[in-house]
Amino acid sequence: MGRYILRRSLQAVGTLFLVVFVLHLLTTFAIQLNGNPALAFFGDRVPSASQVAAVEARFGLDDPCFDQVGNPCLGPFAERLAGYAQGDFGTNLRGREVTDIVATAAPNTLKLFAVVTVTWLVMGMFLGSMAARWRGRPADHGIRMTSVLIDAFPIFVLLLVYRYVFSVPLSEWARSTFGSDSLPAQLFRPSFDADHAWASVLVPGLLLGLAGSAAFIRLVRASQLESYAGEHVRTARSKGLHERHVLLHHVVRNSSVPVVTAVGLTFTEALAGAVITEGMMNIYGMGGVLWEAVRGSDIGLVIGVVTILAIVTVVVMIVVDVAYAALDPRIRYE
């Protein structure tokens, strides 16, 4: 097991390096084609040559390779890696540390994630198990129809509809009925409020979780159906075990392997969804920060945030892989 974790961790470091390198190549290429991002620092003002040079120096954009299209700019890349090694993820255009920005934004994202993960895990496991248990019955058909229906509404459509059709009237109604500081009024706010972080991420989180759970429901159903048909389930029944015991220890337990794999996949999906959700619901989180950084050409911030998100993703993947091995002994002993 120890060796397995070590091997996966080494692979993860390799993956991370690749992500960072590709990210560097893409941004470098963008700078080379689109012109100097240091100009974004000055907004509408026209800076003098010395001012531009000073800003370029400050953000590490003074290397001549940024003017040569196609040059991979390995020098600045090495410098950045050296910075990462010391925990220095650079600054945004206003000189604020990326780590500092992430430290304030991340908790809101984590809250959103918590709501999302709980929603789709509960929805997926519950509805998926129900559909598998009553295969071919009305409950099964209903659940499958619902999951396809959810899939037909992408997250941004769900959010748009919620925000413009439901959120405003609901929050107005809640404010007039329960008072403007009441919980219902906070729940249906169309935008984020840092003072009521949990309340304002709840509904967007539920919606994002719902969108993610659609595919998850079908996966849980399929993997449990496979377990149901398994001969080991028949063996368990032949021992005279209670159906509930058989279900838990031989069906759900055996179908947990693909389900855990899906947790990793859905996590990354939720990450992408969070960027959209946070952007649309004005939630100040990682996604929101990234959204703003991209719009403001804040290259340093984009690279820093994406790198941190990549690290988080890779760590989640390792956790999933280790859980996978813990759940299925056949993988452990490969």
Binding site: G230, E231, H232, R234, T235, A236, R237, S238, K239, G240, L241, H242, E243, H245, H249, H250, R253, N254, V257, L327, D328, P329, R330, Y333
Partner: protein, 372 residues
């Protein structure tokens, strides 16, 4: 190969006081019929099957794939697929009709009184639980045995089925066992609750020939020790010769011949049984064939192996009349129209007192022909 003589002698009356006395009828299946719903309508997989098996004795149910032998035992265990339905019949364990019980109560008899060994141990054991967990699982869940005690019993069970190094192997997973050892684990798992009746569904089919013999010997030993009733489902007449006391030959969901093992090997009364015996490779049947046997075996032993022409009918398209008539070498016109009932053979046609039955219009001719 003196296996026949050795193993058909009735088991020593050992075991605990709770054990059934050898000879007591433990499981009695009567007129069992099972239907399956398929896209092409319902098909009858088992049609009026009856058999009984006594403590300390082995009944072999023999037939080709799809003849309903596995389905009938799954019905007894209450493990049929949702598409299957038991349309009539009873399966009495010590007088209690298991099929008349509610599913939950039926389940309670499983493992405790009637247990089953499945064919493919790799698939039948759960890959994500240790062998020890699976052996002790029922004891823990049903008898509230503690974890440590269940583990101790698991080690005992592994010792019982002669898995070497049981103390260490109890913590391993099924995929770490060889095929033969895995089948032993499967047997141990069925024995965990000390059942009185063991149904073994082709327990050696997936194994090498040498390992097959070991596993069968083990089964016979354990059965004798515990005075268990054993229902051995197989398609292998060689296996039957080795361990069975009585034989039920099935064809197209029906029993076509029922007789003690010696009599059936000496003189089959149904053309299908005769054809089955001829199609066994000579090495495996040497013991049986030498015992006087179907004369035709001499031919098989000398040269090419006889095969039964055609294929067994699929349960959806059973021929009219006797289901075996398209493949039968003695079929007459009557066989195409009238299905023969499973009828007792008159005592005067028999050489021993043991009753036997065959479902053939010409059973006496076949029997006489075999005696030559």
């Amino acid at each position: 190969m003196t296996a026949v003589g050795q193993m058909t002698t009735s088991a020593p009356t050992g075991g605990t006081a709770l054990r059934a006395a050898a000879g007591e009828t433990l499981l009695e299946v009567e007129d069992l019929a099972v239907e399956f719903r398929t896209p092409d309508g319902t098909v009858r997989a088992v049609d009026g099957l009856s058999y009984s098996v006594r403590a300390g004795e082995t009944l072999a149910i023999v037939g080709e794939s799809g003849c309903g032998k596995s389905v009938s035992s799954l019905a007894v265990m209450g493990l049929l697929a949702p598409t299957a339905r038991i349309t009539k019949g009873a399966a009495r364990f010590r007088g209690t009709d298991l099929l008349a019980l509610r599913p939950k109560e039926h389940r309670r008899y499983c493992g405790e009184h009637v247990a089953m060994v499945f064919q493919d141990a790799l698939a039948a054991l759960n890959p994500v639980h240790t062998v020890g967990y699976q052996l002790g699982e029922a004891l823990r869940a049903r008898h509230g045995v503690s974890r440590g005690e269940a583990r101790r019993r698991a080690v005992e069970l592994l010792d019982l089925v002669k898995v070497p190094n049981a103390r260490q192997r109890v913590d391993e997973y099924p995929h770490q066992f060889s095929g033969g050892m895995r089948q032993r684990v499967m047997i141990a798992s069925a024995l965990a609750m000390d059942p009185e009746v063991l149904i073994a569904d082709e327990p050696t089919t997936a194994l090498d020939v040498t390992v097959q013999a070991q596993v069968l010997r083990l089964l016979a030993e354990i059965q004798a020790e515990r005075t268990m009733a054993l229902v051995l489902i197989t398609h292998d007449m060689g296996v039957v010769a080795g361990v069975a006391d009585d034989v039920t030959v099935m064809y197209a969901g029906r029993a076509v011949e029922q007789a003690p093992v010696r009599e059936i090997f000496a003189a089959p009364a149904h053309p299908y049984t005769r054809a089955l015996l001829r199609s066994v490779p000579s090495l495996a049947t040497r013991g049986a064939a030498a015992g006087a046997g179907a004369r035709a075996d001499a031919k098989a032993a000398g040269g090419r192996l006889d095969v039964i022409p055609g294929r067994p009918p699929s349960p959806g398209q059973v021929p009219s009349g006797c289901p075996f008539h398209p493949r039968c070498e003695v079929a007459q016109d009557v066989c195409r129209t009238d299905p023969p009932p499973l009828a007792a053979i008159p005592a005067e046609a028999l050489t021993t007192a043991a009753p036997r039955a065959a479902a053939c219009h010409f059973a006496l001719d076949v029997l006489g022909g075999a005696r030559g």
